[in-house]
């Protein structure tokens, strides 16, 4: 089931050091890159069907095509390494075990979108990984892989700067991330009416997830066909899937899209600890509708299949829940997270998360009633689609799915 493209070098000792990275194929796409025009690189990535790995799954190539041509302003690449979605811990593997793959991907992407400065925004808690990446960038500058020229021979100037966040989940939302990079609070921006690129101090910018960027060198080197031979027609390639919770082998594993979730759980994740029964899985970080054990049997790990069963693939970070866990506790834990992380800009989200938190508190104290479940669903409805960003709809997705799929568990707390 395992297919290693991005994680190919993860198990090699000292894979983060430039010497080892070079001996194991890093920067081998660069010669081919500069034999192509930037538009050809973008076209190849579009053809590969590469999709954003940060949760949304938007097509990567078409995103690059939104960058304006012949614009006098400088263009920027912003790499989203804010990774804060509960259950998600994949980008840190790239920082830790193959930072040079990320740098190589940044070179490819910057060439394609004609950006000469890339910022990697990393969550503040990832201090170790930030240091690791900065060491790799320093090595790359010293060996003239980046800087005034690429690989000391290609006439393309490129600087890379790591920017440390301050512990705000919302900064994983791309426009909040840019606000933060501009030195402000991480408040998401209103979406434009039509499709356009992002704007960093009014300069054109593209925001891509770390894993997405790390997938680009393979596409440049082996062509779109080298990528589309894995996965499904609509979800081509591979993804770093993660599994956590009470399973025998929690961790991050790269697989092609299209594998069955239950096989991933049992064959790769090692199955449940202590022979416990599976109750549910939250598929891709906590912001996806929950799947019951029966639904898990049917679930297939690609974007379209997950939509078909009423959930989403998200970041591919699965949280496994066993039979002994109360779903009310799960809902309470997650609403505390969302209440804490709501940026406070939009009233439905700021107030809604707190309101649901209070109701769940009441239910846990044994003071709840069926009416409270209706109120939770009502609040979810008020939050959905009425805010600037998708944070509130995500809260609605996870909370209302727990309430609707496990109402009996809430009812055991009701006195009447």
């Amino acid at each position: 089931m395992i297919t290693k493209i991005v994680s190919k070098n993860f198990d090699i000792p000292n894979s983060h050091k430039l010497e080892v990275a070079l001996a194991n194929g890093r920067y081998s796409s660069i010669d081919k890159l500069f034999s192509m025009t930037p538009d050809e690189v973008t076209a190849e990535v579009t053809k590969s069907g590469l999709r954003g790995k940060g949760g949304g799954g938007a097509a990567c190539g078409p995103k690059w095509e939104l960058m304006p041509k012949n614009d006098p302003r400088p263009a920027f690449l912003i790499v989203n390494g804010d990774e804060s979605e509960p259950g998600t811990f994949k980008d840190r593997q790239i920082f830790q075990y193959d930072p040079h793959l990320l740098i190589e991907g940044i070179i490819c992407t910057c060439y394609a979108i004609n950006a000469h400065h890339a910022y990697i925004y990393i969550r503040g808690e990832y201090k170790f990984f930030i240091d690791r990446l900065n060491e790799a960038i320093k090595e790359a500058y010293e060996k003239k892989i980046i800087g005034d020229k690429i690989m000391d021979k290609y006439d393309f100037k490129l600087d890379i700067t790591v920017h440390r966040g301050g512990g705000a989940y919302i900064c994983g939302e791309k426009s909040a991330l840019i606000e933060s990079l501009e030195g402000k609070r991480g408040h998401p921006r209103l979406k434009p009416a039509g499709k356009e690129c992002e704007w960093f101090f009014d300069n054109p910018a593209t925001v891509n997830n770390v894993e997405t960027i790390a997938s680009v060198p393979n596409i440049v080197e082996n062509g779109a066909e080298g990528y589309t031979k894995y996965g499904t027609t609509k979800s081509p390639g591979t993804m770093l899937f993660a599994i956590s919770g009470p399973v025998k082998n929690p961790g991050v594993y790269e697989m092609a899209y299209g594998n069955k979730m239950i096989d991933f759980l049992n064959q790769i994740g090692g199955g449940m600890i202590d022979g416990k029964k599976l109750k549910a899985i939250i598929p891709g970080g906590s912001s996806c509708p929950i799947l019951t054990a029966d639904e898990v049997q049917k679930a297939v790990l690609d974007y379209e299949s997950m939509w078909d069963i009423g959930s989403t693939l998200g970041t591919g970070g699965m949280i496994v829940i066993d039979e002994d866990t109360s779903m009310v506790d799960v809902a309470k834990n997650l609403i505390e997270f969302y209440h804490h992380e709501s940026c406070g800009q939009c009233t439905p989200c700021r107030e809604g998360t707190g309101w649901i938190d209070k109701i769940l508190n009441k239910i846990l104290k044994g003071e709840g009633s069926s009416e409270d479940l209706n109120t939770i669903l009502d609040v979810c409805n008020t939050m959905n689609g009425k805010t600037v960003c998708v944070f509130a709809p995500a809260v609605k997705d996870i909370i209302s799915s727990i309430v609707k799929k496990f109402p009996h568990e809430f009812k055991t707390y009701f006195k009447n």
Binding site: S84, G87, F89, E125, Y126, G166, A168, N333, L334, H340
Partner: protein, 159 residues
Amino acid sequence: MNTFEYTPENEIKFQEYGTKYPKIDSVMLPALWLVQEQIGWISPEAMIYVAEKLGKTPIQVYEVATFYTMFNLKPIGKHHIELCKTLSCMLCGSQKIKDYIKQTIGIEAGQTSEDGLFHLSEVECLGACSGAPMFALNGVYHEKLTTQKVDELITECKK
């Protein structure tokens, strides 16, 4: 009178950050990180200092410093324990670790021990879910925690 200023080393780092962005505004978070690395928290004096350096008003620095949870707005204990409380850690026993910290050090989330040695924060997902339960101790991740492991780390800090 403002009583905060960067050490010469941090002043050099601050100046370097200034060369890396299209506008000085972007240096806000790096500048605050330098403050916290220097004195352990973001004092009001330091906010005024950063505001002057960035050409901002103090309230603009204040609104950023208070938005990001990693910035300490008051002094905390010498060793900062950030215990992850989110779902994967909860499912794997973070409550047990929290109880054990209370039992051994005598502090709850948000408290500093009387000797000023430890401060406990309960934080949201630290992205170490395969190592649940976990905490960061002075920024360093410690995963798959057991009470024994916690004991060892606490003893190490007390040395």
